[in-house]
Amino acid sequence: MSMLSGVKHIILVLSGKGGVGKSTVSTQLALAMKEAGFKVGLLDVDLCGPSVPYLLQLEGKDVHQCPEGWVPVYADPDQRLAVMSIGFLLKDRDDSVVWRGPKKNAIIKQFLSDVYWQDIDFLIIDTPPGTSDEHITVMENLKDLPCDGALLVTTSQAVSVEDCMKELSFCKKANIPVLGVLENLSGFVCPVCSECTNIFSSGGGKSLADLTNVPFLGRLPIDPSLGECGEKGKSCISVNPNSPAAKVFQDLVQTISEKSKVSSVPAQ
């Protein structure tokens, strides 16, 4: 895995459940880390439902070949955020990728071995829901690499928390350290009367963290503007610095950079 030798840290974004915000968290975290001065790579290994190209408004961009390997798509002119997703390899955005496990494993291996990430501080890997082929393959290929750990995203609902418990068991079996649990879609503030309703209930992520003895990393409210930040290629920290989501991501960037003891190199 010589291509990953320039990657200093790897973070997995996992969740047992779909639609809880893994890709939104991955893109926002990647943008926030980039804005903090790091060089970041974002790898989307969700092959049947890649969301990262859309969330970063990079649909239609192409992956090029260079002597070293595949050149990722850069989300910014300074080339400090490199992105790779199967979405860039499809002819039409409506095309389905109807592949069984072995083929999915082969492309994930290629993503990990053939993409020319160059020297990046953090590689964030966004995953599909579940504990199957994609996860096993990523885990097997990261064995000898500097994987800092997994970030678990859940909503507060029992159905999601239960699937996250399965994901935690997976991490334990696979010896992947857990950075913590992030609770998403935690409450909706009515734009008219400011009443906060916990549509998908609240507190489930915190109790999951307590129950399983992993750090609780914060609670993200339901905020339709979060998606809009990503579309502009910005993190919520720079768009709405006073929003609750900005606070969560600021803390997250700090936790991760402290844990990995990398001081950010200011952008030239």
């Binding site: 069984r100 599909p128 829901p129 579940g130 199957s132 399965k166 008219v192």
Partner: protein, 327 residues
Amino acid sequence: MEPPSDAPEHCPGTQSESAGKVSACQGCPNQSICSSGATRAPDPGVHLVRNRLSSVKHKILVLSGKGGVGKSTFTSLLARALAAQDTERNVGVLDIDVCGPSQPRVMGVVGEQVHMSGSGWSPVYVDENIAVMSIGFLLKGPEEAVIWRGPKKNQMIRQFLSDVDWGELEYLIIDTPPGTSDEHLAAATYLQGVNLDGAIVVTTPQEVALLDVRKEIDFCRKMKIPILGVVENMTAFVCPKCHTPSNIFPPNTGGAAKMAEEKSIRLLGRLPLDPRVARSCDEGLNPLTEFPDSPVVGAMEAVVRDLIASLPSSDAGAGDGDSMDTS
């Protein structure tokens, strides 16, 4: 179809004429089986599934490319609504989400066990006329992860389709995981001989969900699965205090209605986001009886009416009594 999990990189495919005979096959553990031609014979599982499901009148898949849009919630509501219309009507729910089974929770049967008998696995009964089968019943606890690659998942799904003793069912509703991979291919393969009525595609209004749902529609077309229609879930949220509707998942590209039009499929209905329904599903209660005043209940009734009317009525007796609206 597809090669085995340990196939070489340039495997010609187990169904290919050259299976087991090309240079890439050298050293593959499957080579002798492939070259014997056995892999090109029809899967014996298809036959077993056909026999078992011959006592099931209607089979409906609930699909979505995207996770967390409400496939399992919709499946449970559909099963409960169909069963409530007619107590003589038996409804089965099969959960083929192997890694994240939600049916035990939303149907309120967490911790139940599946029993084996001479005639197969007995499903878990939620009500006199609703039976459920899920891998969740086979696990020690909610934290137990099913860390399986494709072939093992396929095997489990085949067993669910061929070995569960459902008895006489009018409807079997199959809840699926997100994506277009092993589970979906297994279901499509084994159900091809059993006149599957078709698939209901569930989505939420925002583009990031529709993006994946369009892929699922492409999958259905590739696999020749008829699409019964699209259901849009979490359409709008009405503030319980000031009753202002908000688009939590904004339909920034026209929502399910526009997509259905573009893809020429029916929009079966839209279900609003009601926190009470979300909560009762989490608690395993029946939202249709707990909150009969919820807008979801009315929307669901319309979906069921539309669905029953659109189902192929080739089987004699299907669809009779569909006017018994009990709620």
